[in-house]
Amino acid sequence: MATPTENAAASAATTTFRGDLDRDASAFVTDVDLLQTAVDRGSVTQARSYELAGQADYDQFRALESGNGTTAATLDELATDVGADQSFGGLHAVERDLWSPGGTTVEAASDISGLVAQAPVAEYLLAKEVLSPEAIGTTGVDELGWVVDMSIPGREELYSHLDDVDTTATVAAADEAFVAIKPLGHLVAPAVTAGVGASFARLLTAVHRIGPPGQVVDGDVSAATRLALSQQVDATAAGLAQLAARLTPFGTSGPPSS
């Protein structure tokens, strides 16, 4: 039986993460609007800057939003997400327009409309997400898994080759999830929580060592650095998964499927 203190911490975790999502979604809408303004002005430099910012904002809630078939396709589609002869949309279409050799804002102008239209929709949908502490932890685990699969190998930003933006933002998002559940974790699983905290500290340090996000080209990140980073991400994710499992008495993302 959970104590009143634990129940209060569980409730606080949900509230904290709810606030994080609101802030992240709002920042995304703002940066997409600024991106459109820069494109309208014809400023490639400014447009690139806001595209990167928008990408980092999106990374903050990717794990929750990417399951939505309607918005995900217009927000962050990759060429590999569609058939060989089909066009793709979202941030990566704009990225292609802005970073391809000779890229201008002319092409970006036509690709940005769906993004601008769907960003507020995503914000609206995210506002409905009310996650239990276990689900918050699992969200962080999912985010870390994506980092190993996509951003560390340089498979996400195929035109700007600035995947460090995604790595930094997504690890920060996972840490945000951990921070939300940490007070509850300290009450119900102090040793596990302390271990995850230490692991996140090492991970954030390792990410910081890569360099300022948006200024380090993928090719400049050594294989040894990628390996060490992947290993630290995996170790952190394993611990976070264990912590999330310990929080199931305070609610789950749904009933077990079998």
């Binding site: 276990e134 290993q231 170790a235 394993a238 264990q242 499992a245 789950t252 077990p256």
Partner: protein
């Protein structure tokens, strides 16, 4: 023979089973100088005076892995080794690492061995020289015999296939059981150690144990005919097991493992004539008998001369150069496995060969001089490329009250 008891049945039995396996009580505890043996149910107990997987009759599959320790304290390293001890006791008994932990937790066991017999799984652990640096205060506990191997002629060692603070040799008669063990032990190490390399091996390239037909290696020759017999306790005491007179008492009952990933230029070997192949090895390819003899088990007569006074077994033949008679009577217990890792994209040739493993009392007196002689004189050497290397101190057998590394840490 593979046992019939499945992991699921064992798990459904009683939780006491694992305690018995680790405690080494009753029938699973081997004699004072006898490593764990198959008790007839496909299970080779993890506990015992010596680690299993050294003089154990060689299984058909091997997964070998090394690790770099990232744990920040001696206590964290000890916790890793304790966890490995417990998990190893369960897995070698055909059990899962741990029972299910509910639908919202990652399964404590990865599950691919559920329903499979124990399959004579053995897990053998070793400590590399790099563990004895200043991270854990172990510099003073490093055995004198745990030396860094010197460079040998024709070495082409890749750092990514060499070294490591820790090693695990998993052997079983089911490839999936062997992989499962390393898979779970690697997962248990997350946050404490990172895997450095992993090598999968197959077949039996040496034949420790009476009653096994000497298998053939990828060269097509019988291999292991002259290997030490692990059932010969006197030989094991003389060449393999470290006694109490060692400089580091925590190694008493242990041994030293040397591993070498040896790529064989098979395409080059395959186009050699039969006569040339036999002259290179010093044995008849079909029978395995030493040149000039009829039976594989015939003693190797290094002095035999042919019709024109020439040596029957050439001066640079592999079995001559490797012979204990020419190595100050020294011998090693070989326990290697073949490997095939696909195609070398640079040459289009097979990346295959021998993952050589041997055990001995002292690499300085055994492997190093033997390999020095081989590398410089062996006719076979021109077909071989050593791409990986490692030396590890294998402590004595562990048990529930004496986990891996307990005497060291």
């Amino acid at each position: 023979m593979t046992g019939k008891m499945s992991r699921r049945r064992l798990l459904a039995g009683t939780g006491l089973a694992s305690a018995a396996v680790l405690a080494g009580s009753g029938s699973v505890l081997a004699g004072a100088d006898t490593p764990p043996q198959d008790t007839g149910d496909g299970i080779i107990a993890f506990s015992g005076p010596h680690q299993a997987g050294i003089t154990t009759p060689e299984q058909q599959h091997m997964v070998f892995a090394t690790y770099d320790v990232t744990a920040g304290s001696t206590a964290a390293l000890a916790a890793l080794l304790n966890g490995w001890t417990t998990a190893s006791g369960r897995m070698t008994a055909g059990q899962e690492v741990q029972g299910p932990d509910g639908p919202f937790a990652p399964p404590p066991d990865t599950g691919e061995a559920v329903g499979l017999p124990a399959s004579q799984l053995t897990l053998t652990f070793g400590f590399g020289p790099s563990l004895f640096d200043d991270r854990f205060g172990l510099a003073g506990r490093r055995p004198a015999a745990l030396v860094d191997l010197p460079p040998f002629p024709n070495d082409a060692l890749e750092p990514s296939l060499s070294g490591g603070d820790l090693c695990i040799q998993a052997c079983a008669n089911d490839a999936q059981v062997a992989f499962h063990a390393v898979h779970d032990l690697t997962r248990l190490a997350l946050g404490s150690a990172t895997i450095r390399y992993l090598q999968v091996g197959f077949g039996r390239t040496a034949s420790p144990g009476a009653g096994q037909q000497t298998p053939r290696n990828l060269l097509g020759f019988h291999d292991g005919t002259a290997n030490l017999d692990p059932a010969d306790h006197d030989a094991m005491r003389q060449y393999v097991w470290i006694d109490h007179g060692t400089d580091q008492p925590w190694m008493a009952g242990g041994t030293y493992m040397v591993v070498r990933r040896i790529r064989i230029h098979l395409e080059e070997w395959d186009r050699n004539t039969l006569d040339s192949q036999e002259q290179t090895i010093g044995r008849v390819k079909s029978s395995g008998a030493p040149l000039g003899s009829k039976n594989p088990a015939d003693p190797v007569n290094l002095n035999a001369l042919g019709a024109y006074g020439e040596l029957v077994i050439p001066n640079n033949a592999h079995i001559r150069v490797a012979s204990p008679a020419l190595n100050n009577g020294q011998a090693i217990l070989r326990r290697g496995y073949s490997f095939a890792d696909g195609v070398d994209l640079q040459s289009g040739e097979l990346d295959a060969g021998l993952f050589f493993i041997c055990f001995q009392k002292d690499p300085r007196q055994q492997f190093i001089p033997i390999q020095t002689r081989l590398a410089g004189n062996d006719a076979l050497a021109e077909y071989l490329l050593h791409t990986g290397s490692g030396v590890f101190a294998c402590p004595p057998g562990a048990s529930a009250d004496r986990p891996l590394g307990a005497a060291l840490l």
